[in-house]
Symmetry: C2
Subunit: 143 residues, 2 copies
DNA sequence: ATTAAAACATGATATAAGTCATATTTAGGA
DNA sequence: TCCTAAATATGACTTATATCATGTTTTAAT
């Protein structure tokens, strides 16, 4: 579904959304441990997200990564799109070229409502929305 | 979601279910073209499925692969399990260890009902069921 | 029996995904 | 202004997945 990289990126961004701010930046190496992802790897992913203005960062002493008000409004789908490419989620379960409701592959009816709904949720829900869920105890971040 | 190998395997099995029989075996190289999969690769996958009694085969002249009545009753999930392993479908969207309804990850509610549904469908529907759908024009096999 | 056609088994190669390491650039504080 | 802490950029390495190739065994027909 998602690549490992996207999963890591989502976790890291949500961690930042909950625990960081403009006045409380977090180092890549300090994100690594709580979300259980190798630090060099998460650093690389955060750099990529930073380049696309999905997370914020400053270099030098007291620098680090953080989520600002503007980042908070970004929908989750953008994270996945940057890391995995925009159309990874669009392909049919059997990777049949023109699989659609008119000419469905044999598994189309099992999967299509699922994927459509998932994509809509990823478009609708922002980083900030998810952070609120975590803060209110509706959902949990590992570990 | 599925690996390419599983997708190929599913396509090949469904192709056999529609076009083969005990008296009409099909060569690996003749499956390759209609389902758009390299022939050496599909041969390997069919051998694996044959070892697990999901497809039938006989060697020698007039041999080939085919689906018999017993194979026809096998649920689709078995194909995926043999190729991808049993628990690939079970993991949460973020690969959070103990993600469940009590302690859901932030994306749990987006994905869980659908994954459950997909798995149930793969368990419930057999190779024969899918073949019927194709034969009755309810669904289509590439190309 | 001999031969040929096919699956079967095994391993080699290629490509992509994931992980790690190092050097460079930027920014703040002494 | 100089030093240090951090992100950034780049590339090397590792592992998993996908693909290809070759030799071996089984089966049926002659």
């Amino acid at each position: 579904m998602f690549s490992n990289s996207s999963k890591y990126a989502l976790k890291a961004v949500l961690y930042l959304a909950v625990y960081s701010s403009e006045s409380n930046k977090i180092l890549a190496k300090n994100i690594s441990e709580p979300i259980n992802v190798p630090q060099a790897y998460i650093a690389k992913l955060l750099q990529e997200l930073s380049r696309h203005n999905i997370v914020s960062s400053t270099r030098g002493p007291n620098g680090g990564f953080y989520i600002n008000a503007q980042n908070r409004e970004i929908p989750l789908i953008d994270i996945v799109s940057v890391i995995d490419g925009a159309n990874r989620l669009n392909s049919c379960l059997l990777s049949v070229q023109n699989c659609n409701n008119e000419k469905p592959c044999p598994l189309h009816s099992f999967a299509d409502p699922f994927r459509t709904d998932l994509i809509n949720n990823l478009k609708k829900n922002t980083i900030g929305d998810m952070a609120k869920d975590i803060e209110s105890g509706k959902s949990f971040l590992p570990l």
